[in-house]
Amino acid sequence: MIDLLPHLINGLTLGLLFALIALGFTLIVGVMEVINLAHGSLFALGAYFALTVIAGSWFSSTPFGAWWLSLPLGLRYVLALAIGPALAGLAGMLLELCLRPTYGKPPLYGLLLTFGAALVVEELIRLVWGTGEQNLALPQAINGAFLLNGMIFSTYRFFASGFSIVAIAAVWLFLERTSAGAVIKAGAHDSEMVRALGYDLARLRLLVFGFGAALAGLAGVVMVPIWGLRPHVGVDIVIPAFLIIVIGGVGSFWGAVIAALLVGLAIGITGAYAAAWSTMSMYLLLIAILGFRSRGLLGRKSALEN
């Protein structure tokens, strides 16, 4: 009998991080009806910008770099947690501007454009940060491991899970309890009506895309210490994110969260019994669930089916 508990905890941690990635994704799908295949690339961009902030990798040889690296690691980490997502958000807005000609056309065009964008971002990352695998330096407080009931747990995984829960709750509160959130949700439901009520639809889309991209970037900064940072990390991560959206039902907030936890747990549990096959479990989960519910767990009918 394998002790399942560590695997369940790992799975849950992974699920929470997946949920964080999937939220930005589902927000963009819901409001824009764009399947953003570049979401993983925005995740990667957030993480790489964080790398630059923490390690000073562009300016470490300059006098500014020397001063910068003399700052405490904890402070640099907190700054990275803000700057990484912000820059990813800006990149997302740029992508939204590129997407404008595809509105009103079949969803295929948005998907293709973002696929091209993913390719471009990956190549840019290779050009700017190099092709090798890199690591984010973590502050002492959240690094290392602790012992509980005779088992070793990674402190960082607990920090990442807690951070994800807080972030998910914040996004939920923003969508449910603020007027900006109400407009976004209305935009997902009926964008024509939102426009008719006098809201600037173009600006709404730009902001939603920026916000979703910033969430992707945030997930990137938090997740790469576990997942690893390499130029094609975007493609590696966009696939789970994408399956989660489909399993949960395209455009559904809670669907995405539940599906993310399910996928995380599936990977964790398969990891206990057949580690080499753990990634496969999410595809099997996808096919099993779509076999019974063609729109996913909590999905509704949408324009994406046309």
């Binding site: 065009y109 293709l112 454009l113 964008a117 471009v120 840019l124 493609v235 994406l304 046309n306």
Partner: protein
């Protein structure tokens, strides 16, 4: 935007002028390629990918079914060919048959699962299945060789009765691939302009309407998926011969996306010949841009993005527009049909 339906069908024509032009180009290619500074092997690569792209476009351009996991069937064909050579017999025809059948069976199974789906869900599931096949190729180490690939696949000689030709040299393999390519071109052309092809286009324009008119839409979607998988399998067997090995790499999402990019850049949405242009453009861009810069994919990606934004009808659509500055409007036809604008 023009679409495939704006190009009139020629139901009786098996051979058309563009087919003859392509055949002549292929005939001259081994002399032509070195003359413009390229190499023999490129011709084989282009021929293989044109076969793959033409089959793919029956699904993508004609039926409007967006598969993002089609590299899987190319890979299955390559593995089936290699495994046949290793475990059954060293035989060209046997290998080709095994590749087409294996890809066809995989396509038929996946197609049965997919054909009730529409729109983006169809695309999503093709990604899911494509990833499963890729994953299997990576993990079934004892069968596929895992990440290292299936190595040492021979190029069996071509046997037709008493007549035998070795395909070990690149020019010989190129001519063999070119002959298969011409067969695929003629078959696809006939099929696209047959009643079957017309129904596929009806499904693309409005699936619900096609069903209400009385067509068994499920069966057509299933048939075209299986068929395009079989053609991909054929291309895969040639790929296995060309590389003398098979790798899981061709089954990755990245490669499956590349075929979509090639077909779209070429104009597969608006023209039968779009995929051919797209494949040639991709490989020439790879060699020309790749000679200038390490990051050629960055530039190809940017070209692709610009294409999707500004000219989604691709190279073929641009040519079409150049040839006919003012396209003659059919009486009563409105500029854009409602289904295209939706």
């Amino acid at each position: 935007m023009i679409s495939l339906s704006d190009i009139p069908a020629r139901p009786s024509a098996w051979i058309t002028p563009p087919i003859i032009v392509l055949a002549l180009l292929l005939l001259a290619a081994p002399n032509l390629l070195p003359a413009i500074g390229l190499y023999q092997y490129l011709g084989i690569e282009i021929a293989i990918w044109i076969i793959f792209a033409l089959g793919f476009n029956l699904l993508f351009g004609y039926a409007g079914l967006h598969s993002f996991g089609h590299g899987a069937y190319l890979g299955i064909g390559a593995y089936a060919f290699g495994l046949f050579q290793h475990h059954v017999a060293v035989s060209l025809w046997g290998g080709l048959l095994a590749a087409v059948l294996a890809a066809g069976v995989a396509g038929a199974l996946v197609g049965a699962f997919l054909s009730h789906r529409r729109g983006i869900y169809y695309a999503l599931l093709t990604i899911g299945f494509g990833q499963i096949f890729w994953f299997l190729a990576m993990k079934l180490h004892s069968v596929t060789g895992g990440e290292d690939g299936l190595l040492g696949i021979p190029r069996p000689p071509l046997t037709l009765g008493p007549w035998q030709v070795a395909l070990t040299g690149n020019p010989a393999l190129f001519y063999f691939a070119a002959v298969l390519l011409m067969i695929v071109v003629v078959l696809c052309w006939r099929l696209a302009n047959s009643p079957f092809g017309r129904v596929l286009q009806a499904i693309r324009q409005n699936e619900t309407r096609a069903r209400f008119v009385g067509y068994d839409v499920w069966r057509f979607k299933w048939a075209v998926f299986t068929l395009s998988a079989m053609i991909a399998g054929l291309a895969g067997s040639l790929l296995a011969m060309a590389q003398q090995s098979a790798y899981p790499d061709v089954m990755s999402l990245h490669q499956s996306g590349l075929i979509v990019m090639m077909v779209l850049v070429g104009g597969g949405l608006v023209s039968f010949w779009g995929p051919v242009l797209g494949v040639i453009f991709y490989f020439v861009a790879r060699d020309v841009l790749g000679g200038l810069t390490e990051t050629w994919l960055l530039w190809y990606g940017l070209i692709f993005m610009a294409m999707v934004m500004l000219r989604p009808e691709g190279l073929a659509g641009m040519l079409h527009g150049l040839l006919r500055r003012s396209p003659p409007r059919q009486p009563g036809a409105v500029a854009v049909p409602a289904t295209e604008a939706a």
